[in-house]
């Protein structure tokens, strides 16, 4: 079961490190960061899924991790400038994909268990 929760453990470790870190950023960036967090989370879930599917590619993962985060943050920023909440696009896309990835992960794990049983 450990192999399923390594991402969760990583996030928990990250939260602990983040709380211990003395640095904080300006509160006005919080919207961009929160959308970026969603994109990163989606990338991590996608990575777990691809790992379970045995086709994990580090280049795709890293480029997705940072690219998606940057794009989501940029969309939020652009939306702010245009007066249109463009970050909705990021929220819906990455939020939807997050659940999609989670669904696939569940299926993979459950079916694998069935096979082993």
């Amino acid at each position: 079961m450990i192999r399923l929760f390594f991402a969760l453990i990583g996030i928990l470790i990250g939260i602990i490190i983040g709380f211990l870190m003395p640095y904080t950023y300006n509160a006005s960036y919080s919207l961009y960061i929160s959308v970026a967090i969603l994109a990163c989370l989606d990338s991590v879930f996608g990575g777990i899924r691809s790992n379970l599917e045995k086709n994990f590619n580090i280049n795709i993962f890293i480029s997705g991790f940072f690219g998606n985060a940057a794009l989501a943050a940029f969309l939020a920023y652009l939306g702010d400038k245009l007066g249109v909440p463009l970050y909705y696009a990021a929220i819906f896309t990455f939020g939807g994909r997050l659940f999609e990835n989670f669904a696939k992960i569940r299926r993979i794990i459950l079916f694998r268990r069935k096979e082993t049983n």
């Binding site: 983040g18 904080t24 919080s30 777990i48 994990f56």
Partner: protein, 244 residues
């Protein structure tokens, strides 16, 4: 591609990146943000309206501030210029007291001394004909006013527009105080006119003499008339333009 996968354990990489995500999440939590609500056009407009209303309020307050500052500057100027305001107010008070009859006055005028029939023999059949009545005083005062008397007193009581002359048996009451004969009426004004108004043939004073009532008039170069000593207390009358 195969060796990259082998060289980098995906689990380790995923854990590392999960840590990065966790750090960001922790930072976000540390900011302790208020519940974040997306900015809708409606809320934008509401905020805009609020800001404009507040700005209007500020500009109105600034206008008031400006007016008050001007007022203050005026008062400060008065204060700087050797106690101008005090002099102005003092002048105001003395002026108002003078014309409301609260100031003692001096000037030329006449003194009328009135008393009941001093002779033992009665003038007529009616005893009342020998006595001075409130009406007699009132008529004399009216004659003096017609002749342009500027200040009148009866037995030391200043006669104002509100002063009553009330019959109280053998005495009369004026300004709420009883006085008895002899009645000394002082009037400041043109002495000749005042003298004529009560002594010329056919005047009320002349008729009183016929009734053998004591009536002596003397012209004085310098008279002293005291001010009104009572307190004005209007219960019903109010200045126009305050409550309406």
């Amino acid at each position: 591609m195969g060796d990259i996968m082998r060289r980098h354990n995906p689990k380790i990489i995923l854990t590392i990146f999960s840590i990065i995500v966790g750090i960001f999440i922790a930072n976000q939590i540390k900011l302790k943000l208020e519940t974040f609500t997306p900015v809708t056009i409606k809320s934008l407009q509401a905020t805009k309206a609020e800001i404009t209303s507040v700005n209007n309020e500020i500009s109105e307050l600034n206008k008031i501030l400006k007016a008050k500052e001007e007022e203050l500057a005026l008062l400060e100027n008065i204060a700087m210029g050797d106690d101008n305001i005090l002099d102005i107010l003092k002048n105001d008070i003395s002026y108002n007291k003078l014309y409301s009859g609260q100031t003692s006055l001096k000037g030329p005028g006449i003194v009328i001394k009135m008393y009941d029939n001093p002779e033992e023999r009665s003038y007529g059949f009616d005893l009342n004909d020998d006595l001075i009545h409130d009406v007699d005083i009132l008529n004399i005062l009216n004659d003096l006013k017609i002749a342009g008397a500027e200040a009148i007193s009866v037995n030391g009581e200043r006669v104002l527009s509100t002063s009553e002359i009330k019959c109280a048996g053998p005495t009369i009451r004026i300004n709420g105080r009883s006085t008895a004969t002899p009645f000394v009426i002082k009037a400041i004004g043109d002495p000749k006119l005042l003298y004529a108004s009560v002594n010329a043939p056919g005047t009320y004073g002349d008729i009183l003499k016929i009734y053998s009532i004591g009536f002596e008039t003397t012209v004085e170069d310098m008279l002293y008339i005291p001010g009104y000593k009572g307190v004005f207390n209007y219960r019903f009358a109010k200045p126009l333009g305050e409550d309406d």
